[in-house]
Amino acid sequence: MDDLREILEQDLSRVGPAAFDLEELTTKREGVRRKRRVQAGILGLVVVTILIGLLVTALRAVETSEPVTTPPPRTNGWVVYSILGRGFDEPQGIYVARPGTDPKRIVGAAGDGARGFCPSFSPDGSMLSYTEGHGPGQPPGVVKIVVTAVDEFAVPVGSAQRIEVPSRGGGRGLCAQWSPDGTALAYSDSGLWVVPIGGGDARRLVEGPIHGTLAWSPDGTTIAGTSSGYVVLISVDDGEMRAVQAGTYGGSVSWSPDGRAVAVAVKDGSDGGSDRDIAVIDIERGTSRVLPLGPGVTGNEPDWSPDGQQIAFVDEGSIHLVDPDTGYLDSLPGVAVPDPSPLEIHAVDWSPDGQRLLAFGTDYQPELAYCLVSIAADGLGDPVLISPVTIAFYYTGPSDFDWQGVPT
């Protein structure tokens, strides 16, 4: 169609030359480049702002993720335990012991009738606290928390500080817990109290019952306990209380060493509530996850290992270790001391170095009795008997023994 091409060529010639020249194009090019630079600057600013934001967020995450107080490494010192069984063959009192030595009674004397329980070493192992119950010559309704320095043999030295606590019921449940820095004790008695070591008035953080074993967070800012079936976190500064988990039965609450989580036994809903699982509660988020312990395994008295890698708990008399991250479950062999029949373990406590477990259990042969044994956490080696095997432990509970940590 030459006519069409001809028309187009004619029109093309009629349009004439372009009105823009290279100078205009250069100006426009500079404008485009300037615009790009501005856009690049804005983009760079946005990117830098985002990166700074991410960096700040990451730094905050790192700040919050790192434990505020990293517990120093400790070696294993003396084991302290209380015997409460009045009238049994073993005199009641508080004893210290270690493998290879005979137990030594450090509180109480023959015939004095004093009742000491809930012994606990300070985090650096230099002090001991225990509760002194009613005894002959003591006014009813008052118990005392005793704080005393101990020597290298864990024997009290010097004068003791006695903190009087008006208490109903003889104060059996009054077990004070050391703050991580060793400057205060917390106890529960018609509320949660904190009392400074060395003198000063006790301060009530909350009113109302706080049950279970109190547990200080590793940074010392929070105390965990249980109340009305909830795990509660109480601020040491202002007593603000936060409930984070329902379905607990009031047992031990154990902090992870990094302070990010607590482990607690919770009621298993599958069988109407008689069974128990172990829940790990994220403190910051307030969320919890139940560790898959497997069919038929019940979680009781969880205790987080010093390195944070495992949670020890007891089930039907046996000791189990569960990895809190993966849920991997490991079961320790039966504790066959002092005779071949295995003990029925009721509670465990990690040694300060995280290599062993202090276990309290029942021996049924040849007759009912109780004892404390030290077990390697890897299940290897023979268990070591720490205490005598005696019925006098009849009233003893998980708060009645503790392992002294000695800073390395």
Binding site: L8, D11, L12, R14, V15, F20, L22
Partner: protein, 156 residues
């Protein structure tokens, strides 16, 4: 940055015709200038590499046609969005009066199809790639354009 002598030569060699071709396709001087300048600017930015290819002229037309295609597409979308608006009587712009009377009645696509194939010598496949349509559509557009030039329908 000093001007590249070869780009300057290239620019002077192609600017009027590229502008003219764009005018034939858009029937609007301002649109034609914008399209041509946009093509030259992009060409300039890439001149170090593009300036060495065998036929940089074809390349600058390709850039301009891509820009034209985008404008037509945007215009199509805009037209569809305003489909329910009251239609106004089309009036020939001052620019379009420069075109042959027969070309004024064509749609941009129809004009582009005959400009590419008749004026620039594109094959149907090349024209279809440039306009982003099927090769068969180029045939249809050319048929419609010819029919319009002969006084027939110019739907498209």
């Amino acid at each position: 940055m000093p001007l590249s002598a070869s780009f300057e030569t290239f620019f002077e060699e192609h600017k009027d015709r590229l502008f003219g071709v764009m005018f034939l396709m858009t029937a609007n001087r301002q649109d034609a200038e914008e399209l041509a300048q946009e093509a030259f600017l992009k060409m300039w930015e890439r001149w170090d590499s593009v300036g060495r290819i065998a036929d940089p002229g074809a390349y600058v037309y390709r850039i301009a046609l891509n820009a034209f295609r985008k404008r037509v597409r945007r215009a199509d979308i805009s037209r569809r969005l305003t489909l329910r608006a009251p239609s106004s009587t089309p009036s020939a712009s001052e620019d379009s009066l420069l075109l042959h009377e027969a070309l004024r009645v064509l749609t941009p696509r129809q004009r582009a199809a005959i400009v590419l194939t008749e004026l620039l010598g594109y094959s149907a496949i090349e024209a279809s790639e440039a306009l982003g349509v099927k090769p068969s559509t180029i045939g249809a557009l050319k048929y419609q354009a010819r029919a319009a030039l002969k006084g027939g329908p110019a739907d498209g």
